[in-house]
């Protein structure tokens, strides 16, 4: 256990329309067993003690599962450790005397609310457009009626592991949301239960995505940044389904 003396360069912005700035904040005596967010908690406690306003940042479960936390740390979404959300990042990954630059997610579709907090509700719009299986409460058949091959269930689970944090968008030079949308769509499109709405789903989700986000040009930064290491192969699955949805034009043929 060692103590680190750090300097934080933190993005501060009073509100959505206010201009932002970097504040330089000294953070001495940081125990390296702390998580990154505990370090920020401590910095905030010190700011309050000085009568200053605490740094606003989104966070909640601190177990890497709720997807609430974010942060560009030295230009990397969720910081330097692979497959790790900011809340699970520990200070032992940093060195004594280091300067750390902390910024919010940067994307037009994720406007800054205050300091490091952004609005990610565009993700909800994509799911509302079709990221579900229509299965109203009460009518479900026995769960073992439709066997699902283990490999299919496993792949669906790999996609469903997405925590919706937005790191993929923040890391993408185009601010594209292909990895998020592909993970959501593929989770359902791979399962037998998701087949009836497969093409309708992918079309609605992709079209909604494009209202908010940039276009994918296969940089692959999203996969690198993803705290759940979701594979960009799912983007290929989504693109194939999307193409098919347009070619088959099922929406018109089935007259639904």
């Amino acid at each position: 256990m060692t103590d680190l003396d750090l300097t934080l360069k933190v993005w501060r912005q009073d509100g959505p329309d206010a201009p932002g700035r970097f504040d330089s904040i000294a953070a001495p005596g940081i125990n390296d067993e702390m998580s990154f967010l505990e370090m920020l908690d401590l910095v905030n406690e010190r700011l309050i003690a000085e009568g200053k306003e605490a740094i606003t940042f989104d966070h909640d479960c601190r177990e890497g599962i709720c997807g609430t936390c974010s942060l560009m740390i030295d230009g990397q979404a969720h910081g330097p450790q692979r497959g790790t959300a900011t809340c699970q990042l520990h200070m032992r990954n940093f060195g004594d005397g280091q300067q750390i630059t902390i910024e919010p997610w940067r994307a037009t579709a994720f406007p800054v609310i205050k300091d490091l907090m952004v609005d990610r509700s565009a993700f909800d719009r994509i799911v509302e457009a079709g990221g579900y299986i229509t299965a109203e409460t009460g009518g479900a058949p026995d769960a073992n009626l439709i066997p699902v091959p283990k490999s299919v269930a496993d792949s669906a689970m790999d996609a469903a592991a997405c925590i919706g944090c937005g790191a993929c968008v923040a890391a993408c030079p185009n601010s594209a949301a292909q990895l998020f949308t592909a993970a959501k769509a593929s989770h359902l499109n791979l399962l037998p239960q998701g087949q009836p709405e497969r093409y309708r789903r992918v079309e609605a989700m992709v079209d909604t995505m494009e209202e908010f986000f940039g276009s994918c040009t296969n940089h692959g930064e999203c996969e690198q940044a993803c705290p759940k290491e979701i594979s960009i192969d799912f983007i290929a699955v989504m693109n194939k389904d999307y193409l098919k949805s347009k070619l088959k034009n099922r929406r018109l043929l089935s007259r639904d």
């Binding site: 256990m1 125990n31 067993e33 702390m34 998580s35 505990e38 908690d41 905030n44 406690e45 700011l47 309050i48 003690a49 200053k52 306003e53 605490a54 606003t56 989104d58 909640d60 479960c61 601190r62 177990e63 599962i65 709720c66 997807g67 450790q81 497959g83 790790t84 699970q88 990042l89 520990h90 609310i113 205050k114 609005d119 509700s121 909800d124 799911v127 509302e128 457009a129 579900y132 299986i133 299965a135 109203e136 409460t137 009518g139 479900a140 058949p141 026995d142 769960a143 073992n144 066997p147 699902v148 091959p149 269930a153 496993d154 689970m157 469903a160 592991a161 989770h187 239960q193 998701g194």
Partner: protein
């Protein structure tokens, strides 16, 4: 005003009550449902499922969450699984067995009729969630896989890797998102409920605070459903998410909803021990790990060798020793207390000697590292990220931590609180787990309440109101509640003291952990009851909240939540003090057997204690709902 606790349990044998209730209840015609408005606060499993289902059925629903998205609710963090009496393994499970295990697991302090209904509905939950696309773990043949959890001798736990809560919540969130997209549910995110409004003794609506602008607004409806989770964060350090709080339930309590069994808190045995002073939360390691992990402590208190060098003969597998038939899968309260006994005896491990080992080497030898990785890979990774030690190479270190609260708002069989028209579902209510919840039963209860119970029972209240409109939000009661909330938040900003809300919360948590945690004594509780009001008084005078009340201010949000914890903490200690017995998670040192097991007093305490707010948090009134056991015989709960 005095409260009467009428549980409204239907007549008839326990196995037929729910069926007969569903037939007898009043219905609302599908075409009339759009004439009703329902408010749902909270979008976890219980709230999200209720809002989605009510929306599907045709009611006009407003759903509120203080998160940025409905998908963030803390249900998401549940790891291990969800119980259901499917008996897919053919190992003797049944609705009756799940019912029995749950009543026994709760140390005979739950209402039989509710638990039976829960066991009945458990079966439909798995069907429903599978149809929605939850990728539960499967066997190679494509059928659903199961594993075992504490307190059961059958395999009835369905799971999705170590992320079952996440997958179930995403299922619920997707159903809710569909209703939002269709316009049946209006969802208000980043909006926190700060008060319940009653008019003529009935729930009329709520007052909410927009967390982005500080603006207070009122919303009215024919009925209000609270699904706002548990209060483990009263201990400051718990496995709960940082924002989990008691405010919604507590504000309802102050408006007349009785608070039941607040002292029933669950301390989960397998969490990562605290490593440093500024730690903000404790991380759970799923109970499912106890399927393959063996818990032990060194036999010698002066042991200094690393675990792999301690020979078998010098290890004490204390759960297997004390509870041979359930072994490492003893229920949570029992496993937690056993670990505490080891650590208190000086046999703790790790740099702070504050843990015991959870060892996978036997299982790895038996089934291979690949299988262990498939079962628990993500948990092992999480552990390594936090502690910098690999559980594949060295046993995990674990210690109990506050995790779940069985107590909550008192509800009748219909999930209605003592305020007519105000319902409470999920962890926020007190109903189904008695004095101890079994693993993998929280997800089951949240979903049962949200999908299958509340949408059935609420029509019984709504049907007679056909033709009436919700109380308009310009009613003086709304104005009064808004003004009270406005003053409250303005006051926090104006105190201008020296200490942050977190500084107070930390101290409160310490008092609660020391005196109202895993082991309670009369003396300790009395000490807590003198220290809490004193600290609360300091809070009122010395709080410092920086920033303003018209933009995002997380310090201000926290101040309101901490203040409600102060009042809750007092009734928790009072409840623990009054309950002169040990049962489940409530262990009074004065009431134990010679072997150190919990000793119930069924003569005097086979009842629910529900507290009524009187305006003074030191003087609540205690009411009692007797518990009658018809289908299950009261017995000493043995896992030996």
């Amino acid at each position: 005003m005095s409260i009467t606790l009428d549980a409204k349990v239907p007549d008839g044998p326990v196995a037929e009550k729910w069926t007969s209730y569903q037939f007898d209840r009043k219905l609302v015609n599908p075409a009339n449902r759009r004439k009703y408005e329902v408010i749902v606060v909270g979008t976890g499993l219980a709230g999200g499922a209720a809002a989605a289902t009510l929306g599907e059925q045709g009611y006009r629903v407003k759903a509120f969450t203080f998160h940025d998205s409905a998908r963030r609710a803390h249900s998401i963090a549940a790891q291990g699984g969800i119980n259901a009496a499917k008996n897919y393994k053919g190992d003797g499970d049944s609705v009756h067995r799940l019912f029995y295990d749950t009543v026994k697991g709760g140390d005979f302090r739950a209402r039989e009729a509710n638990v039976h209904r829960l066991a009945e509905e458990s079966v439909r939950i798995i069907d429903q969630m599978t149809a929605q696309g939850v990728p539960f773990a499967r066997e190679y043949g494509g059928l659903l896989d199961n594993r075992s959890f504490g307190g059961a001798q059958v395999s009835r736990t369905f799971y999705a890797r170590g992320q079952t809560g996440q997958q179930l919540l995403l299922g619920v969130y997707q159903q809710l998102a569909r209703q939002v997209g269709l316009g049946n549910v209006a969802l208000y995110n980043r909006t926190e409920m700060v008060d319940v409004v009653t008019v003529d003794g009935r729930a009329a609506g709520i007052v909410v605070r927009d967390l982005l602008t500080g603006e207070l607004t009122s919303h009215s409806a024919h009925a209000v459903v609270l699904a706002t989770g548990g209060y483990s964060n009263v201990f400051f350090l718990s496995t709960n998410a940082m924002a989990c709080n008691v405010t919604a339930a507590w504000r309802a309590h102050r408006r007349g909803a009785a608070f039941a069994n607040p002292c029933y808190t669950q301390i989960h045995p397998t969490c990562i021990p605290q490593s440093e002073e500024f730690q903000s939360k404790l991380t759970l390691m799923s109970e499912s790990l106890r399927n393959d992990g063996r818990i032990w402590a060194p036999a010698d208190r002066d042991e200094t060798r690393p675990p792999e060098q301690i020979p078998e003969a010098e290890r004490d597998y204390f759960l297997e020793r004390r509870y041979p038939s359930f072994g490492n899968l003893a229920p949570r309260d029992i496993a937690s207390r056993a670990a505490k006994i080891e650590v208190d005896a000086g046999k703790g491990v790790g740099p702070r000697k504050n843990g015991v080992y959870l060892d996978f080497s036997d299982a790895t030898g038996r089934v291979g590292e690949a299988t262990i990785e498939e079962r628990y890979g993500n948990l092992f990774e999480m552990y390594e990220r936090i502690t910098d030690e690999s559980p594949y190479k060295r046993p995990m270190r674990i210690y109990p931590a506050p995790h779940y609260t069985m107590g909550g708002l008192w509800v009748d069989y219909e999930l209605m609180t003592t305020v007519p028209g105000l319902y409470c579902t999920g962890e926020a209510n007190f109903s189904d787990h008695g004095a101890n919840r079994l693993g993998a039963s929280a997800l089951m209860q949240g979903l049962a309440d949200g999908y299958f119970v509340l949408p059935n029972t609420i029509s019984n209240y709504l049907a007679p109101q056909l033709g009436s409109s919700p109380v308009p939000t310009d009613h003086p009661s709304f104005a009064e509640a808004e003004a009270t909330a406005r003053d409250r938040f303005a006051h926090y900003l104006s105190i201008g003291g020296t200490r942050s809300p977190d500084a107070f919360h930390q101290r409160l948590g310490r008092i609660m952990w020391d005196f109202c945690g895993m082991e309670r004594t009369k003396e300790g509780l009395e000490k807590a009851l003198s220290e809490i009001p004193a600290l609360h008084e300091e809070f009122r005078k010395d709080l410092r909240v920086t920033g303003d009340g018209i933009s995002v201010n997380q310090t201000l949000e926290k101040a309101g939540r901490v203040e409600d914890f102060f009042e809750l903490a007092q009734v928790m200690c009072l409840d623990a003090l009054t309950r002169e017995e040990s049962c489940g998670g409530h262990f009074r040192a004065e009431h134990q057997t010679d072997e150190g097991e919990a000793e119930r007093d069924d003569e005097s305490f086979a009842h629910v204690a529900a507290w009524e707010w009187t305006g003074d948090s030191a003087q609540p009134v205690r009411h009692v709902e007797p518990l009658e056991f018809e289908a299950v015989h009261l017995a000493v709960r043995s896992y030996k």
